[in-house]
Symmetry: C2
Subunit: 503 residues, 2 copies
């Protein structure tokens, strides 16, 4: 089947003969963003209906580790208890560097100033965080510790510019079970609120808009029947990204086709983005995505060296895994390897998610070089230089932290980390509808489209590239932006209702 890649045109207001349902705020999608949007809208005094394609709540949030990137304002409760005072400025500097030239400064500023408050809000919902710090370098926290480093905060050049602090908050639960727990708590909060109703197994088909593309509601399909829904405040699109829509990925984000595994739920088909585009919304950053080589655990892989088919290193190997993956994808070479000593290789086979196969081993550097068909002398030279400085605790080439420097002595192992040759490259999209920090969707002129809101991966949020990603930025952004969008839509409904009463 060819997936849809073209904008979904709205149903025109004039074509709607009657409304089957009426509400203040309609939320499309019941993942982390949609759930938080509904709760916040309800708590602001609005009536809310959530429409969810699947048979239950969850979305991609439930499939994730639910790490949540939060900090600033002197630190969250967990940060402070763990001995980290985190300044808003340090967090802002880090996140601005992460987003680089793609940054939305207003959105990042708002996020950093209010993310410690967001932590408190999550706690008020009942989301549990243990006041403990997980010291190991990990892709995700498999203990119940509440806090860990989940980005490149300790790596060059970030550690030069901003005081590092761990900001990845992990739910108080053993194993990789944060996502299901998080959505269970969000679901209970939704259930507890009488002013929120939920329709599962319901597909949002189109928005309803007038000739000026103001949004008045939407059409959904319930039990094979089209149902028209009028909204006083607005429609909040929280329908995920487009990673499951292969055609859309090829069209908008072709570099992600290097990936091996789309991360998301089956509903991540871009339907929300296409509905927004159909009423003139701007879709931005569509070319970017998270794409990564999850090379730790074991953390010992970090001691190794990533080289290309010229035996050149390409980056400091102590960065966040998607920053290293991004460097591989951007490097002007056709093959890449992770070169490791036997000790560094360690329990790779049992501990790793990376899936990279052993390309060659060598009792000497020369042997490994030959086995990998690298130019004669190239790997010998690279390792000689690396070792020369590693012995002194220095990396004048890529500024890898002394903590991760070790002299590389044979026997050596090389893992093939070339995309497409067996290693695991999960990916998802980072483009979406352009929104104001309020969650209001805008058109290419940056004018607000009245009645339309978006959050989570349907919108383009604070995180914009694999190069600058940190774990927890997606769930952090989704839940935070969901709340803002829900509140804005509720406020519009209340204003609207007031003026109706006054009239």
């Amino acid at each position: 089947m060819t997936e849809k890649t073209t904008p979904t045109l709205p149903r025109r207001l004039g074509e709607i003969s009657h409304w089957d349902m009426e509400t203040d705020v309609a939320v499309v999608g019941f993942g982390g963003a949609g759930g938080c949007a509904a709760i916040e809208a309800a708590d602001a005094g609005a009536e809310v209906i959530i429409f969810e394609l699947a048979g239950g709540a969850g979305g991609s949030t439930a499939l994730s580790s639910a790490e949540i990137y939060m900090g600033g304002s002197g630190g969250t409760r967990v940060q402070r208890a763990s001995g980290f005072e985190d300044s808003t400025e340090a967090m802002f500097t880090y996140m601005m560097m992460c987003a680089g030239s793609l940054a939305d400064e207003a959105k990042i500023r708002n996020y950093c100033e209010n993310s410690a408050g967001h932590f408190d809000w999550l706690v008020s919902l009942g989301v549990p965080f243990k006041d403990s710090f997980h010291k190991e370098r990990a892709m995700m926290c498999l203990t119940d510790d509440g806090l860990l480093y989940t980005g490149s905060e300790n790596a060059w050049p970030f550690n030069d510019a901003a005081t590092p602090a761990p900001r990845g908050h992990n739910l108080y639960v053993e194993g990789d079970n944060g996502g299901p727990l998080f959505m269970k708590i969000v679901g209970e909060n939704v259930e507890r609120r009488d002013t929120i109703s939920v329709h599962y197994n319901t597909r949002a088909l189109t928005l309803v808009a007038d000739e000026h593309n103001r949004v008045h509601g939407l059409v959904v399909r319930i039990d094979q029947r089209e149902v028209t829904v009028r909204t006083h405040g607005g429609v909040v699109l929280c329908a995920g990204g487009f990673v499951m829509n292969e055609d859309m990925v090829r069209k908008y984000a072709p570099r992600l086709t290097a990936g091996s595994y789309p991360l998301g739920n089956p509903g991540d088909t871009g339907s929300g983005i296409l509905m927004g585009m159909g009423v003139g919304a701007a879709a931005i950053n569509m070319q970017e995505g998270f794409i990564t080589l999850p090379y730790y655990p074991p953390a010992s892989i970090t001691y190794g060296l990533v080289i290309n088919d010229k035996a050149q290193r390409i980056i400091n190997e102590d960065v966040y895994h998607s920053r290293l993956g991004d460097a591989i994808l951007k490097d002007n070479a056709e093959r890449h390897y992770f070169v490791l000593t036997v000790e560094q290789y360690g329990d790779y086979e049992n501990a790793s998610w990376m899936g990279a196969e052993v390309a060659a081993t060598g009792e000497s550097v020369e042997e490994l070089e030959t086995e990998l068909e690298l130019p004669e002398g190239s790997l010998v030279a690279t390792l000689e230089q690396y070792n020369h400085f590693a012995e002194r605790g220095e990396d004048p080439f890529f500024h890898k932290s002394p903590h991760w420097l070790q002299v590389m002595e044979p026997p050596l192992v090389a893992l093939d980390v070339t995309p497409g040759r067996g290693s695991y490259w999960p990916y998802f999209t980072l483009g979406g509808l352009d929104t104001l920090p309020s969650g209001e969707v805008v058109d290419p002129l940056h004018s607000v489209i009245p009645g339309l809101y978006a959050a989570g991966r349907t919108a383009c949020g604070v995180v914009r590239s694999a190069e600058g990603y940190s774990s927890g930025m997606s769930i952090g952004d989704a839940t935070f932006s969901g709340r803002l969008a829900g509140r804005s839509a509720a406020q519009r409904a209340l204003n609207e209702n007031d003026s109706t009463h006054a009239a």
Copy 2:
């Protein structure tokens, strides 16, 4: 002064009380694109008015070398006379590789199939090309030869995928005087046609559009007075790119801020693009631009090596100059040098446009390494490896052609080619309005905006990045796309006029 970066909203049709002028086709901008649009529209039977901001014709085409990238169909007259049979498929393969994932396949296909015909059309206007081939590697042709290699056709990986052919056509004139001659000939052709009139010193202010954003004309300013112009066929925007609009460059194409010198004419302020966006047109590829380190002449620099601050090479140095420049900009390093032997350095001081200063010299490799503050042993290793293979005529690292391989022996010179440290980095923009091959402007839904056309750098054409640029692609694209847009607008006027008569 802060330059305008927001779309220019149209004047609404209802606000126009009377029309001061009326024509079939209005062309905004009298450079290569606008001139060719006007000629083609007139020859199709339409009345045309050109509005030009400056006091005379020229635009950025007159400031350029006016190399024109043409070939395919078995070769142009000059290609065949010079012994090159150029197939459409080879040209198509090359241009598709150049554009990479940014390619507009339909546009490139159309260009390659019709560019030999475009050559004949230019000859019919009186544009002179000598049937001779210029053998040297040059940034531009300073002789009157008609043909030269102006891209990366002979360099890896292009030479592996497509039979190389020179496609840069140079006007029959000594020195770098192609641009003025080309625009003189275009100007004479415009003058010769009674159905074209030209208004100089005239600023196009806004489009005139109805509520559905159909374009009905434009408002221009002549002698401090606003003049309304009705168009039966359409408005053709040929107003150049936005390289002279610093704010717009910062907003849309921040990587170009690494450049040192904007290439263009003062009118390249993005005004045409902003007018198009104001009626809902899609602006695409806005992040991309041509940005380059013009490192040859002298051609001998090509024998040298570009290294970064880790003494790593980054690319085969025999590519087109903007492909090498792009590699420097994308490389994960803070400094870059061109390392040369004294012979390769040759008459650099007299012949070069690059402007890079000597960073260091060395009687030995070690001395140069120390002077450049490269990690100890790094440059020694890089040169040892390079020389080892260069001796055998091989470059297993970056596949530089054997033609450009030389053993590098001290004394050595290093030029500092780090952007921002003295070297010359000209740049211009490569984003613009999205158009069909016909020149019709489309909105983000890919629907045609009736009555609006664009060509040249106001549109986004066949050339999309510095990485895949070749000299002559801009003037080739501008003149070719101008013709198509002019013809389409004329055809719409004739259809319109016919139906008016019939009614």
